[in-house]
């Protein structure tokens, strides 16, 4: 691959040099715009460029099918997003294919010929009305559907008995806190950070003692965040130092963590980790990944949900992650019961 890479570069330079030498020999003066021959060659080449762009589009659409996120959204809210996304993408692709064709076809078809008269066609209210109103109608549809989806995703006020989880971001790791039996998080502020209280929880707040932390302890990272299937999870996000963004692509969820304030976002997981591992897209993706890994001499991996940092946050931004595990609700409750509350930790 690397050799090919250098060869291509070498060829490009060689062609450039050859052209440059040619330039030195040029003296003839001619029509400054473009000759018929130039129009002809470049008209055909424009068709070629269109072919290249179409090939690239088709190759990208099909060739990258296996590398995309699994088609199946792992959250109920994500399904709405996926539908809107499919509608928008279909529309975009149709317009893209048609318009690119027209541009390059016109360029080719009307390439200059000596003596041809161009059409003096400066204005047409009818045409302009058509291409003002058509996009307006289409966009009105997209806007209305988009806003409905946005509210559906962002509005968490009507959730019944949601699970409240705090995500706490810091350079370059994640911590978390479950709200415990009262389902209310105790107050917190970075000014309370001291010793083992790495999240700055205010223990004088009565809601704090039943909170269940997933903390960094003795230098060990938090290993995994568990979530229940079928119950709405509302994340309250905080940051300790700089901006971070909690990005959970499989759930189609993302929200920034902002120092000095609490942001929130919620979703209902609908597919457990075990179920997602059996998903066809996931399997074909991970088969490929494991082939690549074996080739490199690395160990094979299994699918896991991920929480990634998606807002530049410093030198190790590229490795700020947390594994998410979605369990059946019963399993989740069992797991949670096994975790220690602040009161128990003391």
């Amino acid at each position: 691959m690397k050799a090919l890479f250098f060869i291509i570069i070498f060829v490009a330079i060689a062609v450039a040099c050859w052209q440059f030498v040619k330039l030195l020999g040029l003296t003839k003066v001619e029509n400054q715009t473009a000759t018929e021959k130039e129009n002809n060659i470049n008209g055909w080449l424009m068709l070629g460029l269109m072919g290249f762009i179409y090939c690239l589009m088709i190759l990208s659409l099909y060739g990258t099918k296996d590398i995309l996120l699994p088609q199946l959204s792992a959250s109920a809210e994500g399904k709405h997003i996926d539908i809107l996304f499919k509608i928008t993408m279909t529309l975009i692709l149709i317009v893209q294919f048609v318009l690119q064709f027209i541009i390059f076809y016109f360029t080719f078809k009307y390439r200059g010929i000596k003596g041809r008269k161009a059409l003096f066609f400066a204005d047409s209210h009818k045409l302009e009305l058509v291409w003002t109103i058509t996009p307006a109608i289409v966009l009105a549809g997209l806007i209305i559907y988009g806003l409905w989806t946005w509210n559906e995703v962002m509005d968490v006020s009507d959730a019944e008995n949601p699970l409240i989880v705090e995500l706490y971001a810091k350079q370059f790791q994640w911590e978390a806190r479950y709200a415990g039996s009262d389902n209310e998080l105790g107050n917190a502020n970075v000014r309370f950070i001291k010793g083992a209280n790495t999240m700055g929880v205010d223990f004088s707040d009565k809601n704090a003692s039943d909170d269940i932390p997933l903390m960094v302890s003795e230098g060990k990272f938090v290993k995994e965040l568990h979530l229940p299937k079928g119950r709405k999870v509302i994340f309250k996000m905080r940051s300790q130092d700089v901006l971070h963004s909690a990005y959970m692509p499989h759930f189609r969820a993302q929200m920034n963590c902002v120092p000095g304030m609490v942001t929130q976002m919620g979703f209902t997981p609908t597919v457990t980790t075990a179920e997602m591992r059996l998903n066809k897209d996931t399997q074909s993706k991970f088969q490929r990944i494991n082939e690549i890994r074996v080739e490199k001499g690395e160990e094979e991996v299994e699918f896991d949900y991920l929480l990634l940092c998606n807002k530049i946050c410093g030198s190790s931004h590229y490795n700020m992650q947390l594994k998410i595990v979605v369990d059946e609700e019963a399993e989740f409750n069992q797991w949670l019961a096994g975790q220690k509350t602040f009161a128990q930790l003391k």
């Binding site: 473009a34 990208s60 161009a118 003096f120 003002t132 969820a253």
Partner: protein, 589 residues
């Protein structure tokens, strides 16, 4: 005006020149030099993305300690993407593009002897030069150049504890930008005043070429939005150096609580994007103006829907100032605001679509002269549509959630604003080179440059959408920390190969450009058979542009292939300069 009051020395002619044509050249050359730095940086970090653990001697050679053993450090990677973004957006595509062509074309195309204030114009260039120098110096400071991304969101950019690039490098970045903004404000005010006051007899606003409309409206957007960035930069300097808390609150870093209380990084994001989004159009509109002119001239047809084009430019400019929040859907901004910004953002698609369709209709039934400038302009229309369409995904708040800050965004804005604007700039250089330097650029090299550039631009940025859809965040030094991204490496290799070829292909342009300045074929007065006023000036530059009277204007700029009642071309030519009076029996469009 045409008689000289003083003898010109080298310094007054080439250095402290107040002549708009010389200043345009100064802007262009400075922009090109900065462009070389910016593009070269992108080639270095593309190497890192495609071959994350491999050693390259070129990296060690250029990055020194930050590239020890031929592999760059994460901090240096972030510095490179930050400075690449800053240089390309501000120094190349704002100053290099607007600065060059507004300066060159506004006086020439409206029929003025020079800018309204030549002195202010000169100061504007030299401030730009100074800010470029400061930015370049910042590359060499010990703690490294600014590295918080070109959006420099605090607290990351405010706290040297958070990353080493936020030390002296960031200070210099802010100083450089403050100077830059002063420069661009002076330039913009000059452009506005000149267009409003110095048009020649008969040059009504409705007869202005679309280039001038684009530069004029761009200058207005700049005047409206750049001061807001300046205020953001100043407040950030206050937070960094004087302990204020405009953007900072409740921070614990390096084992201690900082004193900041009550500020909000989101405020900074609002201020930044209040410039940042209009900036996209500050970059793009001049490119669209240039391509309108080039496409009409080389189609030998009037631009279709002149009035609709002007209205679109104005509508885009107006909307561009009320859509900034679409960069902030998932920042914690109130979701209701997200709805508002989705609405205004998607509205921008309407004038953009009108422009796209009008370009295409202009090509229809033309007699296309496919010279390099024309190819780049058509390429612009193509990339503008490809990149613009994905804006429908990103502008829709619900869809943005899952692609925000991924490579999908990077692909989108590089196509719609980066590539489109740079194509517009190339089109402008090829088209107006004879006006700038009195000589022609070599056409064959121009063709070669276009073909390699167009293919590699698509080759880099089209596949990039899909690694974004695979969930890959931008600004990751390496994707090796995530097994789920292992299968994206091949795509990255392909993109890097295209990027390196595309970057190297610019050497063809540079060689052609600098060679043609001295050795190109002598240009004729109106090499493209164009209608606009700049082609009525002599090839050799002179102060005051026209010997004798400034010609009066009698018609719009797009009377190409106009026929009389019998269907014959007026005057037997397929173009009619703006200075030709309306003939008997001819109707003015």
């Amino acid at each position: 005006m045409s008689d000289h009051h003083h003898k010109e020395t080298f310094v007054t002619k080439y250095v402290f020149s107040q002549d708009h044509k010389m200043i345009a050249k100064q802007y262009l050359i400075t922009g090109i030099v900065m462009g070389i730095i910016g593009v070269f940086m992108s080639m270095l970090f593309r190497l890192q993305l495609a071959f994350p653990e491999q050693s390259f001697s070129i990296i060690e050679a250029f990055l020194g300690r930050s590239g020890e053993g031929g592999v760059m450090t994460p901090d240096m990677y972030l510095s490179l993407v930050t400075i690449h973004g800053t240089i390309m957006v501000f120094f190349v595509l704002t100053a290099g593009l607007s600065g060059t062509f507004s300066n060159l074309l506004i006086p020439l195309q409206i029929g003025a002897r020079d800018m309204a204030s030549g002195f202010l114009n000169m100061i504007s260039y030299w401030l730009f030069f100074l800010s470029s120098v400061v930015m370049v110096i910042s590359l060499f400071v010990e703690t490294g150049p600014a590295s918080a991304g070109w959006t420099i969101y605090p607290p990351l950019s405010a706290l040297p504890q958070a990353m080493s690039g936020s030390g002296l490098g960031m200070t210099l970045w802010l100083v450089s930008m403050a100077i830059f903004i002063a420069s661009s404000l002076m330039g913009a005010l000059n452009y506005i005043v000149t267009v409003l006051n110095l048009r020649t007899l008969g040059m009504k606003m409705t007869r202005l070429p679309l280039t001038i409309w684009a530069f004029f409206v761009t200058a207005i957007i700049g005047v409206v939005s750049f001061p807001v960035l300046l205020s953001a930069a100043l407040l950030l300097i206050f937070d960094r150096s004087f302990g204020t808390s405009f953007f900072l609150s409740d921070i614990f870093i390096s084992g201690e609580v900082l004193h900041y209380k009550g500020g909000s990084p989101i405020l900074f994001e609002h201020l930044f994007w209040f410039l940042g989004h209009p900036e996209v159009y500050i970059v793009l509109l001049p490119a669209l103006g240039i391509s309108s002119e080039v496409i009409a001239t080389n189609s030998r047809k009037p631009i279709f829907g002149y009035r609709a084009m002007v209205m679109s430019i104005i509508a885009i400019a107006f909307l561009s100032t009320i859509v900034w929040g679409h960069h902030m859907f998932v920042t914690g901004m109130n979701p209701f605001l997200g709805s508002v910004f989705t609405f205004t953002t998607l509205l921008i698609a309407i004038p953009s679509a009108v422009k796209g369709f009008n370009y295409i209709t202009t090509l229809w039934k033309g007699n296309l002269q496919l010279n390099p400038a024309m190819l780049f302009s058509i390429g612009l229309v193509s990339t503008f549509i490809t990149g613009g369409l994905t804006g429908l995904v990103l502008g829709d708040s619900a869809l943005d959630i899952n692609v925000h800050d991924t490579y999908f965004v990077v692909a989108h804005f590089h196509l719609v604003m980066g590539i489109s604007a740079i194509f517009g700039m190339f089109a402008g250089v090829y088209h107006w080179f004879p006006k700038l330097f009195g000589r022609m650029m070599n056409k064959d090299l121009g063709y070669l440059h276009f073909w390699i550039t167009a293919i590699t631009a698509y080759g880099v940025f089209f596949p990039m959408h899909f690694i974004g859809l695979a969930g890959l965040p931008r600004r990751y030094y390496s994707n090796t920390a995530f097994p789920i991204f292992d299968d994206l490496l091949q795509v990255n290799v392909v993109m890097t190969v295209f990027a390196i070829i595309g970057g190297l292909a610019q050497i063809i342009f540079l060689a052609n450009f600098f060679f043609s300045i001295y050795k190109g074929k002598k240009a004729s007065q109106n090499p493209w058979n164009s209608n606009t006023l700049e082609w009525t000036t002599p090839v050799e530059h002179m102060h005051g542009n026209w010997p004798g009277e400034i010609p009066a204007v009698h018609r719009w700029a797009y009377d190409y292939s106009k026929t009389d009642e019998k269907g014959d071309l007026w005057g037997g030519k397929d173009f009619t300069s703006q200075i030709v009076p309306i003939r008997d029996g001819e109707e003015e469009f």
